[in-house]
Structures are given as C-alpha cells and as structure tokens.
C-alpha cells in the first residue's frame, strides 16, 4: 500500500518523534515544575526563553542549532572531540531540532497540569515526613500525569511535523533526515509529483490526528483512574 519511500519517511519521522520527546521529557517536566511552583527573580525571562521556539522562525532555531551543535559549533565541537558524537547531518540532529521545537508546547501543557495539583496534598505529604523529592515523585508527578501525557503527545505531533529547523540544521538526506515533511517538500519541488505529494500529506494528517485523539483518550482515562472513580 505504501511505497518504500513513504515507509522510509514514516519510520524515520516516528523514530525522530519518539526519541525527541523522550529526550525532551525530563527537561520539559523540570521546566514546567519550576514555572508552576517557584517564584524567583527573572522568572518572566526564563518563561520567555522556554517559549522562544514557539515564536521564532523555525529557520532561526535551525541556524542557532547549527551554530551551537554543528561539528564546529561551540557545543558540537566539544561533543565530537570528547565522545566522537555529533548531531550534524544525521537523524539524531533531526531529533534534537524536533525536540527543541516541540519543547514549549510540552512545557505549557505540563505546567497547567502541575499547577492544578493541590498544594495542600503536597503539604500533607511533607507533614508525613516526605522530603522534596518524595513529594514530587509520589504526589506531584503522578497527579499531573494526564497533563504530562497530553504534553508529550502534543509535542510528538509537533515533532513529527517539524520542517524548518530540521532542514536548516541537518539538511535533507534520504534515510537520515528526510522525514515526512521534508520528503513532502522535496516532492513539491519535482514537477508532476502531485499525487505522491498528496499521499505524503495525507499520511502526515493521519499520524498527527492519531496522536491527538490517542492523547485525549489516554489523558481522560488516567484522569479517571487518578481521581479514583474507575
């Protein structure tokens, strides 16, 4: 049903989507917690920086990644020399770009969910002898799981659709960085490829829609279980 090219692009997109979200998850939860629970000088600035990928042109983000994580980049050079590891022009770089672009969306959903956790329950846990980490791991985190799942899947959908930062940072390499949107873009550049392009667009819609519907269902079920109704 699907052509080998389509399968390759789909698999690559799913791999990048999953890896980018798993990689971004701990940082996103940490940022969401800080934004939900901490008051400190410069919080608005921090909030702004977290949201930057949402409002910047994706090409600018891609360019920034290139400067930082390219093989001669500030961090990239260090990683390459120390661990012989590079993000440049491979699927890992695509995952990094996708993760960075999806990050603000994830943080937003998770922050709301953490804010909704009753701090009175956290105070009760502390009065029972639980230190900060235990309160977070046993009360705050489990009770915000619906929002964390929603944020992760929203991020996944965003990640699978990432184009601008990806093509700028890691280019368009078949089997490495040619994800669904990049493959779609490539096809639109070839005259007479309307039908294959349309098929790829439909595939993108299907993946995104499945992720969103799935996240909604999962969040609802987790919510019921947490409230103990189920």
């Amino acid at each position: 049903m699907l052509t080998p090219l389509e399968i390759e692009a789909l698999q690559l997109s799913l791999l990048i989507g999953v890896v980018s979200i798993i990689g971004a998850l701990p940082f996103a939860i940490a940022c969401a917690w800080v934004l939900a629970r901490c008051e400190f000088w410069g919080k608005s600035l921090f909030d702004g920086i977290v949201h930057l990928p949402l409002v910047l042109p994706p090409v600018a983000v891609g360019f920034a990644l290139l400067v930082l994580f390219g093989r001669n980049g500030i961090i990239g050079a260090f990683l390459y020399q120390t661990f012989n590891f590079t993000f440049a022009f491979n699927w890992k770089g695509a995952a990094l770009a996708a993760g960075v672009m999806a990050f603000p969306l994830m943080v937003r959903a998770m922050r709301l969910s953490i804010e909704a956790v009753d701090q009175k329950l956290e105070a009760a846990a502390r009065s029972l002898g639980a230190g900060w980490w235990r309160v977070f791991a046993t009360i705050t985190l489990p009770l915000s799981v619906p929002g964390i799942i929603a944020g992760a899947i929203l991020g996944f959908a965003r990640s699978v659709g990432e184009f601008g930062a990806t093509i700028t940072f890691v280019s368009n390499i078949p089997g490495q960085t040619r994800t669904l949107p990049v493959a779609l873009y490539t096809l639109t550049q070839v005259p007479g490829s309307d039908l294959p392009a349309f098929r790829l667009a439909a595939l993108s819609v299907a993946v995104a829609l499945a992720a969103l519907v799935g996240s909604e269902m999962l969040a609802r079920r987790m919510g019921r279980r947490l409230r103990g109704v189920d």
Binding site: D118, K120, L121, A123, A124, A125, R126, S127, L128, G129, A130, G131, R134, T138, I139, P142, L143, R225, L226, R227, G228, V229
Partner: protein
Amino acid sequence: MTEIAIAKKLGDFMLDVRLEAPESGVTALFGRSGMGKTSVINALAGLLRPDRGRIVVGGTTLFDSERGINLPPEKRRLGYVFQEARLFPHYSVRGNLLYGAKSDGAPDRVGPSFDAVVDLLGIKELLARRPADLSGGEKQRVAIGRALLASPRLMLMDEPLASLDEPRKNEIMPFIERLRDELKLPIFYVSHEMEEIIRLADLLVLLDAGKVAASGSVEELTSRLDLWPLTGRHEAGAVIRTVLRGHDTTFGLSELAFPGGRLRVTQLALPLGTPIRVRIRARDVVLASERPAHLSIRNAFAGKVIELAPPRGPQIDLKLDIGSAAEPVMLWARITQRACQEMQLAPGKPIFALVKTVALDHHSYGRYDNGEAETA
C-alpha cells in the same frame, strides 16, 4: 512540654502567640474564625514560617529565629489532621495509611502498629478502597490513622470535625478520645465549637485577634465572666467536674457526684467511677430563694451568689457557688433583670440553683482524666 512563642505578620493581621502546653493531654485552641488558630498550628507544622520566635516540642527545637533553626515540615514528626482530610486520591486507603510510615527520615517505629491503628479506627473494611469511595467520616478516620502511623510526637488537628454533619461528628469523636486516653498522645486541637472542647480538652487556649486572650483549664475559663465574648455569649455556661456514682435503671437516670451534691442526668452508658465533665448552660439554670417543693426539677443545689455581671439588655448573668465549703463549684445562671431585682439577689445571698435534667444531653458531657480513671 510544648513551648510556642512566635510572631508573624499576615497582611494587616499580627499573630503574636505565646503558650506552653503539657507533655500529654489535649490542648484546645479556641476562637472565632480568623483569630489565628490555624496559623499557630501551621507554624508548629512548619507550613508557616514565623517572622521571629521559637517553637520547642518535647525538648526538640523546631524553630528558633535567633539561632537560625527552622526544621522543614518533613523533619518535625508532627501528625497533622487537616479539616478536609487531604487523602491522596491516587493511593488506596492502605497506601495512604502507610505513606508516612515509609518516609525517608522515618524514625524507628514508635507508637501503635499498623494493625492496632486499623483496629482503633475501625477501618479494616476500607483498606482496599480509594478515597473517592469513602464517606466524609471515613475519610477523616483514615486521615487520623495516616497521621498516627507517621510516629508523631504530637498530633495537630485543625477542626477535624468542622466539615462533617452531626452524625459523622459523633462517629469520629470517640476515636479522638481514644487517641487521648489509650495512646496518651499529646494533641493540639483547633476548634470553634465549645462542645468539642468540653468533651476533649484539658487545657483551653483562647485566641483573639492573633493573641492568647487566656489559657487554663476548661472549668476555669468557662467560669470567667470577662471571657464570655470569646467563649460565646449565647452558649455561655460553666463546666463542672463530676464522677459517675450511680445508675437508676428504673427511671433511666445516672447520678453524677460533685462537691456539694449529685446531678441527676439521663442515663449514661459508662461504668461507675468515670470522671465526667458537664457543661451547664447559664440559660438552663433556674434560681429559687427557698428549697422548692412540688416541682418537676430533680436537681436543686443549695449555694450562694458570688458575683453579678454587668447587665446586658433585659438579662443578667450571675455567678453562683454550689460546692462544698472546702471545694467551691462555680455555676452560671442567666435570668431577667426583673427577677434579679424582685428576688433581691446580691453577692453572698443564699440561693437554690435548679437544673433541668433534660436540658443536659450528650453534647454536655466530656470525659476527663483525673488519675482515677484507670482504677475505676
């Protein structure tokens, strides 16, 4: 010994509380809403940081602004029972109960075992359930058990009955009495219900506008006229200490002895010798200048007028002594000014105080520990 001397500015409100409470028994913090009761408890628990002062519980300094000590809540080992039970919705009842027992800094288990607490609170059938499936009373019992199992050196209870209806309150009250009587756990109990305090408290601390207005035994404070605006004028009354001395099964009555007489009340299902505190509301006391005959009232006590309160409206409150020569027992009566003048009541005047048996109901009683309770 629990020592509290703290000051904290809360908006326009200044909390400045100094009090000492004994190592055991129930210390009640009483006052109207917004007088700082919960703030004191929260400061004890470490959930509210005082601006200055110190808090020492059982020899351990929990907070001392001068020495820079401020133990975090999780290191204080105080069991906190909140007004709303605050059970963890994603844990079963068993999980909630064990939460504190499994804490990082949990000391060697002291106090009652899991099974003992489950028995004490009658929650064995609930262990597998989720908090969402519990009634209000059951939730509060689980919350008490959860706090108990964290091996607290002191229990803090912030109006644990306030969100419950009357039958649920009566369901929980005996369990709190058992904490006091069987586990000998010191308890700080916040309430604005005099009934609960008479039933539970040994030491009563009256809070008014963030300060301790008075502290002392329940009997002493309720017999002080100047505190009535705080203890509640409508519910004004005295608390007297009695011991259950007899049952009259024919008529379904019990006799409570106090220095100076015996109070007949509707039968109590308690063993003889039980020390019982009785609250007699001023408006339930009738005065007579001679020993009355041909009256339905069975409780008539000879005594004398001690003091007349400044009249308020058509009513006046009188302080009476109906005790023996050696041991005075204070009682309050509220009568009309007109009756007071016609009977020519004045300090020193002999009088008979009448109390209707049916005016006393189960809200009027509380057990107290007079050292006799064990042997009786």
